[in-house]
């Protein structure tokens, strides 16, 4: 200990200290981020899947994403985005993109399940990334109350507390989540499509993601306890309704009540 304190003014002490600090933080970071490391793909993709996917990719996606998915001016590189990203973008019809715009719009899927799987296999083979989620995370049997809290804290500011969707800047928007499959919800959280941030496994654990899905599926299945929900858009649609329908009906009655005189 004494030897160490005597050497503390050595010219190289600062460098040694810096090195130690860097090693420590780097090491800790490496340990911490293993949580986020791409998991081994549980969906078994066969070699023929990858091969067929490559052909589909070259024919349908390479115009923008480049041969080998290395990216061009018109589209980002897809190396390392993982099978989950492909399954989400292609499975919801957002890719191939219909037209350029503030963000890719949902539309009927252009590829069937088999082809989507092959494309996912191809892109997954290019580099490790988030995989298609396991079945038990999508069963909707988690804790809805916990999911609701997580949803309000992490998701509601864009997607609305009732998951009805909301506006973002310059024509972008967060879509409503009714009718979105559990798999796609999970994949969106894991890969952060469009303007959505990535909620990786250290932010929101797979179990928490399962709870969020449970919450969304519960409120969707529950329906609206108070009658027609008017779009779940809050006071604006309520105000519009009372002015147009409520006051409209009342005015019709006032005209009826006073119609037989003068």
């Amino acid at each position: 200990m004494k030897a160490l304190s005597q050497k503390r003014r050595h010219p190289l002490a600062a460098i040694a200290l810096l090195l130690m600090g860097l090693l420590l933080t780097g090491g800790l970071y490496a340990v911490a981020t293993t949580v986020n490391q791409a998991k081994a793909d549980t969906t078994s993709f066969s070699a023929s899947d990858v091969e067929e996917g490559g052909k589909l990719f070259a024919a349908n996606c390479a115009t923008c994403h480049g041969m080998g998915a290395s990216g061009t001016q018109d589209g980002p590189s897809l190396v390392g985005v993982g099978a989950a990203a492909v399954d989400f973008q292609v499975g919801t019809g957002r890719m191939p993109m219909q037209m350029s715009g503030p963000q890719a719009q949902k539309k009927p899927a252009q590829f069937n399940e088999e082809q989507t799987k092959q494309l996912s296999a191809y892109v997954a083979s290019l580099g490790a990334g988030p995989a298609i989620p396991e079945e038990h995370l999508l069963d909707g049997k988690g804790d809805a109350a916990n999911g609701g809290e997580l949803f309000r804290v992490n998701c509601a500011m864009c997607h609305n507390a009732a998951a009805a969707g909301g506006a973002l800047t310059r024509g972008k928007f967060a879509p409503g989540l009714a009718g979105v499959s559990a798999e796609h919800i999970y994949e969106a959280m894991a890969t952060g499509p469009q303007n959505m941030p990535v909620f990786n496994d250290s932010n929101v654990t797979p179990e928490d993601k399962r709870d969020i899905i449970t919450f969304l599926k519960t409120i969707e299945a529950n329906g609206s306890p108070g009658g027609a929900e008017l779009g779940s858009l809050g006071p604006v649609s309520e105000g519009l309704f009372v002015w147009v329908a409520g006051l409209g009906v009342i005015i019709a009655f006032t005209i009826w009540l006073t119609s037989r005189t003068s």
């Binding site: 509601a156 507390a161 409120i219 309704f241 006073t258």
Partner: protein
């Protein structure tokens, strides 16, 4: 007659019911009151019934609200929800929110009552607003009703206060966000803002006191004040008697309509049940303020689509329209170590301040400009007061721009446009919208007046085309009957009053300003057709008819 007969022999009722009612009547004088009020005459027009709608909504609010107080607990103590709504089971929340959820899910009829209460609140303020618009555009605020107009304005403010305090009670995320904005607005007031906020919330926002305090205001103070104002308002309606639309036989000295009893009272009573029925149907079939969606209040999350109820919307919209920075000009300064945030202070308080100041002062402004000190019991048709109508529409447009801005995010998503563009357009409309509205409205009003004049003078177009013997085509005009014509010619069209010297023979600068405003107010005018003009027009029409009939006279044309 009756007085003399009672003096001779006291009235002896023949039946048991008769003797009972007579007993009561001799002590409280009910028949006298009934005789007085039962003969009050009310003119019939659909647009006169919005005040009634507001009154009935208020009665429904009192009834449904009383029910809700039986089950609501305004405590901000923390609890874990144990009720039957599973997506919130065991979630930490305040007792106030938990009891609101219990009213919604575990009290029989509770959700229905909550929804009746909330829909009635929205309808209450909406019908108040429409009632005030009707009063404004028909000139019903003129002498002797200026003070009643002010009472109405106070009622509007109280209704908004009642609405907002109630909106905040369930302590859900949506209402908590609303309170946070109010807190921000209060804190933006220079010097006293922070102190006021700490006083109101009992410390730093949100604290543990605010729900209880708002509850007292919501169920005690504000409704009591509203009730007081309603009494004053209705008392003045009885004193002034009701206004009426212009028509044959109607003037400032009479009221043409139906007596209160029995038909009108029955109609009004029936109308209460119609309003109740409409509100009950809305409450049964359409959800309002689904607090279970929003979750308990927590200062960190803010949901998309967070808006206040519609009547506070214009303030929220003004806040949304205000830029924080224009180029390099910041609206937030630190002066003597205190922050002055004009980007909150200006939009939150200035437009509302302007709207209510002009609203309260308008009867006096118009009286000063027009020098009209007469009593008015016959209303103006809006077209016959073009400048006033234009001012009203301009103000309403300004309000609507701010109102729309409160829903800018939903306009963007539902019409697939950029939120930024919506904001830019509304910012532009905030300044030019009222100007355009003023010009367009005034021109439309004048055009309608010209059309009225044309119809009064020449009759209505029948669509029957007649070819005269010399080849000319004319369309036959049918003359109006006298009742319809009265409506088109029976109004005043005041001319500008030039500046007048005062008693010292001096034309003051204020008087010159008034004269300039008077010119602006009445310069563009379409005078109603005079009897002489009507006479001339009729003679002409008659002459034309003769000319059409007789060949020789067509030479004279």
């Amino acid at each position: 007659m009756s007085a003399s007969s009672t003096a001779e022999a006291p009235f002896v009722p023949k039946t048991k019911v008769g003797s009972f009612t007579n007993f009561v009547d001799e002590r409280v004088g009910g028949s006298g009151i009934l005789r007085e009020f039962g003969r009050k005459v009310f003119p019939d027009h659909w647009s006169f019934m919005f005040g009634e709608v507001a009154l009935y909504s208020f009665v429904i609010l009192l009834m449904s609200g009383t029910f809700l107080t039986f089950f609501f607990d305004p405590s901000m103590a923390e609890t874990h929800y144990q009720g039957s709504y599973t997506p919130l089971y065991n979630v930490e929340m305040s007792v106030a929110y938990s009891s609101s959820l219990n009213i919604s899910f575990d009290v029989r009829g509770g959700l229905f009552m909550r929804q009746v209460h909330h829909w009635a609140a929205l309808l209450f303020v909406a019908s108040l607003g429409v009632h005030m618009l009707r009063v404004f555009f028909t000139g019903a605020f003129r002498k002797p009703r200026e003070m009643n107009w002010v009472v109405g304005g106070v009622l509007l403010i109280l209704a908004m206060a009642a609405g907002f305090t109630g909106y905040s009670l369930p302590d859900d995320l949506l209402s908590g966000n609303g309170l946070r904005i109010i807190d921000g607005v209060i804190k933006s007031i220079p010097v006293i803002g922070t102190y006021t906020s700490f006083f109101l919330f009992g410390g730093e926002f949100p604290g543990t006191a605010i729900i209880g305090r708002l509850y007292v205001l919501h169920i005690l103070l504000v409704p009591a004040l509203i009730l007081l104002m309603i009494v004053i308002h209705l008392f003045m309606v009885v004193v002034h008697k009701h206004t009426q639309y212009p028509g044959p036989g109607r003037n400032d000295g009479n009221v043409v309509g139906y007596p209160l009893g029995p038909v009108y009272a029955a109609k009004a009573g029936g109308f209460f049940f119609i309003v109740f029925g409409v509100l009950a149907l809305m409450a049964a079939a359409f959800t309002i303020n689904p607090i279970w969606n929003y979750g308990p209040y927590d200062p960190s999350p803010v949901s998309a689509g967070t808006q206040p109820d519609w009547y506070i919307g214009f303030v929220d919209g003004a806040l949304r329209l205000m830029p924080g920075v224009i180029n390099d000009f910041h609206f937030e300064w630190v002066i003597f170590g205190r922050t002055l945030t004009l980007n909150v202070l200006l939009p939150a308080l200035v437009p509302a301040g302007i709207i209510f100041t002009v609203l309260f002062m308008y009867p006096w402004i118009e009286r000063w400009i027009t020098k009209d000190n007469r009593e008015h019991h016959v209303l103006d048709r809006p077209r016959n007061a073009p400048t006033r109508t234009a001012i009203g529409v301009a103000g309403f447009t300004w309000y609507c721009v701010m109102w729309a801005a409160a829903g800018s995010d939903l306009i963007a998503t539902h019409f697939h446009v950029s939120l930024n563009d919506v904001t830019y357009w509304l910012r532009a409309l905030f300044f030019i919208g009222p100007v355009i509205a003023f010009i367009v409205t005034k021109r439309i009003a004048l055009a309608l007046q010209r059309k009225d004049r044309e119809i009064a003078l020449h009759g209505r177009e029948t669509g029957r085309i007649v070819r005269l013997p010399h080849g000319e085509f004319i369309e036959v005009h049918a003359p109006l009957d006298e009742y319809k014509r009265y409506k088109l010619v029976g109004f005043e069209s005041p001319a500008p009053i030039p500046a007048q010297p005062n008693e010292h023979g001096v034309v003051t600068r204020k008087e010159k300003r008034r004269a300039a405003l008077s010119k602006w107010f009445f310069e563009d005018r379409v005078a109603p057709a005079t009897p002489a003009e009507l006479e001339a027009a009729h003679a002409h029409g008659h002459h034309e008819a003769i000319a059409a009939g007789e060949d020789q006279k067509s030479l004279s044309h």
